[in-house]
């Protein structure tokens, strides 16, 4: 079974999306030029989600990737809801009041977000009322709190993450008279999702990360070469600080059972996540909710299974770590991607490939022999590789697609090998997940003229 190059392209490009920040008077005053995003499923259906939106009542743009596990319900919910929670957290008191008054009196609501969605990125119609009510409760609380202080983006991000996770948990505990919705909120709560969200406002870039997706800044050095600056911490067993944190939060007696086989309680790869109430609720609460829940939930072995050595919940949090970065002229782009990308490619290669793609082939550094000892054969190999890279650049109009092509198709020499690409993409559904993970990528391009 063999895919032709056009077939490969149609698979790779099925989910690609590009957004260009509109210009006014021929000028783009935003620090963001636009973004390219794409995702390639390995799970069926895909468990990754992505979101992008412009804040309309405050300045700034929000972009995020969400990696779901144990189903896609939680990732889907987070992708729909989290940006509203963030936007609301950022709103000044007066705007919140205005919005609340509008809702109260049945007037038209000020729009909060302008979404930039691919047709495949859907929102749940059924749950919108439920989600809205939860959100409204949140802003009502914020109005009541009225700290009077100007909103700090870091605080807002942390609050929004925690509040949404809390709402997910509560909604599952309370349930819903509508059986479809009841089942939905339970699925959301019992599945999980990581989130890596960027908030860009002028030169202020905030990354809020929960879990093992990653934000990477592409920096162009003076000599034109590319370097990668990581703007997030992975929340997994490879992060010593994170392991340390988990251990600190639980009694010493559990030290050995907390992290096993690089997984939380021997089960969960990310150490922070939305949902996953199995790692947050007490055993009693879990049993009560499952018993009173619908049959489908009862039949699900996974949900019924209580993690071993489950003594002092919660073991898991959705609280993000936030990194603030002031954008510099050399900061050309930001890549947000789920771990499906980072486990196949080194961050340095990722940044170089995107950098060379965005600056165009013509800016490719010329090769100079200089004083080096290079043989004809070596030079030939080098040139062949560069040609292959260029030809694959020409196929893609989207930086994220281009990156996925490399992530899936790269051979040992770092060049896209069509045969490999074809094989990887034609794997049957049941096998795909064994060779690769869902990959979701957003590449945000910064506007050097403004920064």
């Amino acid at each position: 079974f063999y895919l032709t190059p056009p077939q490969v392209n149609s698979i790779l490009k099925a989910n690609e999306y590009s957004f260009k920040v509109p210009e006014f008077d021929g000028k783009n005053v935003s620090s963001v030029l636009g973004f390219d995003s794409n995702q390639l499923p390995a799970n069926a259906p895909i468990e990754d989600r992505r979101s992008a939106a412009t804040c309309l009542q405050t300045r700034g743009m929000l972009l995020g990737v969400f990696d779901g596990h144990a189903g896609c319900a939680c990732a889907q919910a987070v992708s729909e809801r989290l940006f509203y929670y963030i936007a609301v957290s950022l709103l000044p008191h007066e705007t919140l009041l205005e919005i609340e008054n509008a809702v109260e009196s049945g007037r038209a609501l000020l729009p909060i977000l302008q979404w930039h969605k691919h047709p495949n990125d859907y929102f749940s119609k059924e749950a919108s009322k439920l989600y809205f009510n939860s959100l409204r409760t949140y802003w009502q609380e914020l109005i009541d709190l009225n700290s009077g202080e100007t909103t700090d983006v870091r605080e807002a991000l942390i609050n929004a993450f925690k509040r949404l996770d809390n709402d997910i948990s509560l909604e599952a505990q309370v349930g819903d008279p509508n059986s479809f919705l009841n089942y939905l909120v339970l699925r959301v709560a019992f599945s999980g999702a990581t989130a890596c969200v960027a908030h860009v406002d002028g030169v202020d870039l905030h990354i809020a990360n929960t879990g093992d997706s990653r934000a990477m800044l592409g920096v162009q050095e003076e000599d034109g070469s590319w370097s990668a600056v990581t703007l997030s911490y992975d929340h997994n067993a490879q992060n010593e600080n994170e392991v340390e944190r988990v251990k600190m939060e639980h009694p010493k007696s559990e030290e050995k059972s907390l992290v096993k086989q690089d997984r939380l309680l021997g089960l969960l790869m990310p150490f922070r996540a939305f949902g996953d109430v199995k790692f947050k609720w007490s055993i009693e609460l879990q049993k009560r909710v499952i018993e009173s829940g619908p049959d489908q939930l009862n039949d699900n072995e996974y949900t019924k299974f209580i993690p071993p050595n489950y003594h002092t919940p919660p073991y898991l949090t959705a609280e993000p770590e936030v990194i603030h970065h002031k954008l510099r002229p050399q900061d050309k782009f930001l890549i947000l991607a789920t771990d499906g990308l980072w486990e196949t490619m080194h961050r340095q290669d990722v940044v170089r490939i995107v950098g060379e793609y965005l600056t165009g082939v013509h800016h490719q550094q010329p090769i100079a022999v200089g004083g080096y000892k290079v043989t004809l054969g070596q030079m030939h190999g080098l040139l062949t590789e560069r040609r292959a890279r260029i030809s694959s650049v020409f196929e893609d109009q989207n930086a994220a697609t281009h990156l996925i092509r490399h992530a899936v198709g790269n051979n040992e020499f770092g060049t896209v090998d069509h045969e490999r690409l074809s094989k990887m993409l034609s794997l049957p559904e049941e096998l795909a997940r064994m060779y690769r993970d869902d990959i979701t990528i957003i590449v945000v391009q910064f506007n050097s003229h403004v920064i």
């Binding site: 010329p366 090769i367 100079a368 040139l383």
Partner: protein, 882 residues
């Protein structure tokens, strides 16, 4: 770095060998503070000023001084041999498709070989030989054609098998080869040193050389060069020679009266490596792999390899910029495909270490041939430039021909294919040149099958009927910028990709052209021949007639309305032009010449006509559209359209009359067809062109009229033994040698140019004779077709080359035209060729190495096909031009 080393080395030798040299650099080098602050000043005047110290400039200086001219100044803006010459790969290759190019390269090779002995300057001359490889059968055919040409010129050359090739050069991978050509006497030189050696010899002969001196412009007064302005002062001179290489175009445009030199630079890359573990022998032959687009020579134990890529990088389009040649970037990505090709050809070189990728811009011309000769607008302004990266191969010979041209007024060989006057202002657009050289550079190594055309820079000059003809399936070729129809693809024909199926064998258009020819023979065809050069010469008194009688060999004092075929001859009786002249009135003449004569003929007339205000010469080429109606029914079509009797009694052959055709009046109708077939050419003022064409086509329908193209015309004229100028006839051919004595009126009562030479030939006989050959055992379907340039053998001995050939649909045989010489068996001297000599020989034509029997004829089969029209003359001279 290698280049620099070479350069330093040559400097040392230069100084040692030439203490007399008065250059700038010597004084610059001086450490003494009392040394003169300025270099030796320029002379106030000189006979010749040469601009450019590369291989061409030094070669011209060398040859001029050898011919006894001493008052010569050579000016170089930088250092001698520091431009393209310095970077040149140094390959002297004689395997050239064009006969004149081959002769130049052959002479260069012989010159360089003895140069070191003559001058004491080491030239690095090594006779290595060269191997040209063929990856395809078609390539092998093209090599065989060149080999045949080399052999009859006296250059040893053989077609060898791949196995023999690997014996000559053990590194060659031969698995994909079908054959090769070996030229054992090809050589390698250090091109910069050759140039310095020529400069040294010239300097000893009295030529003054000034480096670091720039020419700002050339001054011209009353159409003659008067001097040169430089950054170090003015030099008055009679002759200026533009040898400025890739800057020649700009230099040509710097003066008030621009000289158009259509060339444009492209980057050219080659690779230098460190020596192999076991250094390559300096006698290892150069390998040319045209299918792989590369050449490979040995270089200091390693290799030097470059090529002509498919996607060249033109540069300096907007003129010279700040970028020095020396600072051009290496571009490995661009070189990549050539490197692949090199490693495919010589896989053993994988581990060889790279030294440098050299980027050396070269000047390419609009038609891939170099440019030499005198400016049509400024007498004394000579040009030698645009060597298409073969400067070292051509430099010696080209310099010799140009020196002869300056000293004697004409070179010793026919250099028309290289003459500056083959171009006009129309090839001078920068955009055109940029696009054209991007096609020319890859063409250097592309397989060129018969009748290839340039694809860029097209549709520049067109007939008003272009769109009409194109819509009817016309396939086009180009001459002097003018689009001309080759043939018409019939509607519904699935031969739409005809242009892609070019071959050395029977072409796809064979039947199409056959049908057009048949229609010309049996009914009537119309061919748009608007591209011909058309002049009008008139005067208030008899000046026009008198001047023309002096310039043309035939008698032009004919009754008004008569058309005369005549040569425009030079002093030696050779054809400078071949034309038809119609006497429109007592005092005005209408002259039709080949398309590419537009500049040459104009210049010749301007230079030879008396400076008389009563005499006017006008180029009316653009004013008339020419439709050639060929065939027995042409007379019917025309008489129906004009309500005038057109039969032979009323409108004899070689007659011209202004009449109305359809609604249009003032159409010049001439009873000539340039083919020997009956018919008329209509010269139509362009605004009437479409109307007349439509009328002719409508009226012609009932007579079976159809469109036809030049291929049909070509077949018709060749089977009628019509020679045409530029192909069969040139400045070294006289009417006596091509059976046209009847067009020469030695007794017309007044002197004319070339008369003396012709009288002498009439008395002594001719040394070559234009002959027609009918191929006997040639299988049209299976054998390689003749084209032109094929060697002719008489009784097994070489006697000349064909000049044109075509398939005759009437004879159902191939017909070749060519010249037969009688070379003395021992001395090679040219002896008189008599009719008996021609008739008493057994002839063979060599087509790509295979000989075919041919029957020689001195007279056409005309009596079979045409009836006499006018008692005294038959239309027995075509001058169809391709």
């Amino acid at each position: 770095a290698a280049g620099m080393f070479l350069r330093l080395l040559s400097d040392v030798q230069w100084r040692a060998a030439n203490p007399k040299w008065r250059g700038v650099t010597s004084s610059r080098r001086s450490t003494s503070t009392t040394a003169e602050p300025h270099p030796v000043s320029l002379p106030a005047q000189a006979q010749v000023v040469i601009c450019g110290g590369g291989i061409t400039g030094t070669s011209v200086a060398y040859h001029l001084s050898k011919m006894g001219w001493k008052d010569i100044v050579l000016i170089e803006q930088g250092r001698l041999a520091a431009g393209s010459t310095r970077f040149c790969a140094g390959i002297v290759s004689t395997a050239r498709p064009l006969s004149i190019e081959l002769k130049m390269a052959h002479y260069s090779n012989k010159l360089y070989q003895q140069l070191e002995q003559e001058t004491g300057v080491q030239t690095g001359y090594t006779k290595t030989g060269s191997i040209s490889l063929a990856q395809t059968q078609d390539r092998l055919i093209s090599l065989k054609r060149i080999a045949a040409s080399l052999n009859v010129t006296g250059i040893p050359c053989e077609i060898i098998t791949p196995k023999q090739a690997v014996q000559l050069h053990p590194l060659i991978n031969i698995h994909d080869l079908v054959g090769a050509m070996y030229v054992p006497e090809d050589a390698l030189v250090s091109s910069a040193n050759v140039s310095l050696a020529l400069a040294t010899a010239a300097s000893r002969n009295g030529v003054q050389i000034h480096e670091r001196t720039s020419v700002s412009h050339v001054t011209v007064q009353r159409g003659r060069v008067t001097g040169v302005e430089t950054d170090r002062g003015r030099i008055q001179c009679q002759y200026f020679v533009n040898c400025a290489g890739q800057w020649a175009y700009e230099l040509g445009h710097s003066g008030e009266e621009p000289v158009h030199i259509p060339l444009h630079a492209c980057e050219h890359f080659y690779l230098l490596t460190h020596p192999l573990k076991e250094p390559l022998s300096s006698s290892l032959p150069t390998v040319v792999d045209p299918d792989g687009r590369i050449y490979i020579r040995n270089w200091q134990g390693g290799i030097l390899s470059g090529g002509f890529e498919k996607n060249p990088k033109p540069l300096f389009t907007e003129g010279r910029n700040q970028l020095e040649i020396q600072n051009l970037q290496e571009d490995w990505d661009h070189f990549g495909p050539l490197l692949s090709s090199l490693l495919r050809r010589m896989p053993g070189l994988e581990a060889l270490q790279i030294m440098q990728l050299v980027n050396c811009p070269e000047a390419f011309t609009a038609d891939m041939r170099c440019i030499m000769g005198e400016s049509p607008t400024a007498r004394g302004y000579f040009v030698l430039a645009g060597m298409n990266s073969a400067g070292i191969s051509y430099g010696g010979g080209a310099g010799k021909y140009l020196a002869e041209w300056i000293v004697n007024g004409y070179p010793s060989e026919n250099v028309w294919p290289l003459d500056l006057k083959r171009f006009g202002t129309l090839q001078s657009s920068r955009t055109f040149l940029r696009h054209r050289v991007m096609e020319v550079m890859p063409l250097m190594y592309d397989l060129k099958v018969p009748r290839w055309d340039f694809q860029t820079g097209r549709q520049l000059r067109t007939s008003p009927l272009y769109d009409r003809l194109d819509a009817q399936g016309a396939r086009w070729m180009e001459k002097h910028g003018f689009e001309r129809v080759k043939y018409f693809v019939p509607p519904g024909s699935d031969l739409l990709d005809l242009d892609h199926s070019k071959t050395f064998y029977k072409p796809d258009w064979f039947d199409i052209v056959g049908a057009e020819v048949k229609c010309c023979k049996e009914a009537v065809c119309v061919i748009d021949m608007s591209s011909f050069t058309k002049f009008e010469i008139s005067s208030t008194g008899d000046e026009a007639l008198e001047s023309l009688q002096y310039l043309f060999s035939n008698d032009l004092d004919v009754p008004v309305g008569h058309v005369v075929h005549t040569g425009m001859l030079n002093e030696k009786g050779g054809y400078e032009n071949d034309c038809s002249i119609a006497r429109l009135s007592k005092r005005s003449f209408f002259m039709i010449s080949p398309t590419d004569q537009q500049v040459h003929c104009w210049t010749w007339l301007k230079n030879h006509l008396p400076d008389d205000s009563n005499l006017t010469l006008e180029d009316v080429t653009w004013k008339y559209t020419a439709l050639n109606l060929i065939g027995p029914r042409a007379v019917d079509v025309l008489s129906e359209l004009s309500y005038a009797p057109m039969t032979a009694e009323h409108f004899p052959s070689l007659f011209c009359k202004e009449m109305s055709v359809g609604y249009a009046n003032g159409i010049r109708v001439m009873s000539i067809t340039h083919t020997g077939e009956p018919g008329f050419v209509l010269y139509i003022p362009i605004e009437y062109a479409l109307h007349v064409y439509n009328e002719v086509m409508n009226m012609g329908q009932k007579y079976g009229i159809r469109n036809a193209g030049y291929y049909a015309l070509r077949s018709l004229r060749i089977e009628k033994f019509f020679a045409f100028w530029g192909q069969d006839l040139d400045a070294f051919t006289t009417p006596m040698e091509c059976g046209r004595e009847f067009q020469v009126k030695l007794d017309k009562g007044m002197e004319f140019v070339g008369q003396e030479a012709l009288l002498e030939q009439k008395q002594n006989g001719v040394c070559k004779r234009f002959t027609m050959f009918i191929l006997e055992d040639h299988d049209t379907d299976m054998d390689v077709w003749p084209w032109w340039g094929e060697p002719i053998f008489r009784n097994g001995r070489y006697v000349g080359k064909t000049t044109s050939s075509a398939y005759s649909y009437t004879l159902e045989r191939h017909v070749c035209l060519g010249f037969v010489h009688n070379f003395d068996e021992k001395t090679g001297e040219e002896l008189v060729v008599t009719t008996d000599f021609i008739n008493q020989g057994e002839y063979e034509i060599d087509i790509a190495g295979q000989r075919f029997q041919a029957k020689a004829k001195l007279y056409p089969f005309s009596s079979l096909f045409t009836q006499r029209r006018r008692k005294d003359e038959v239309e027995l001279s075509g001058y169809q031009r391709e």
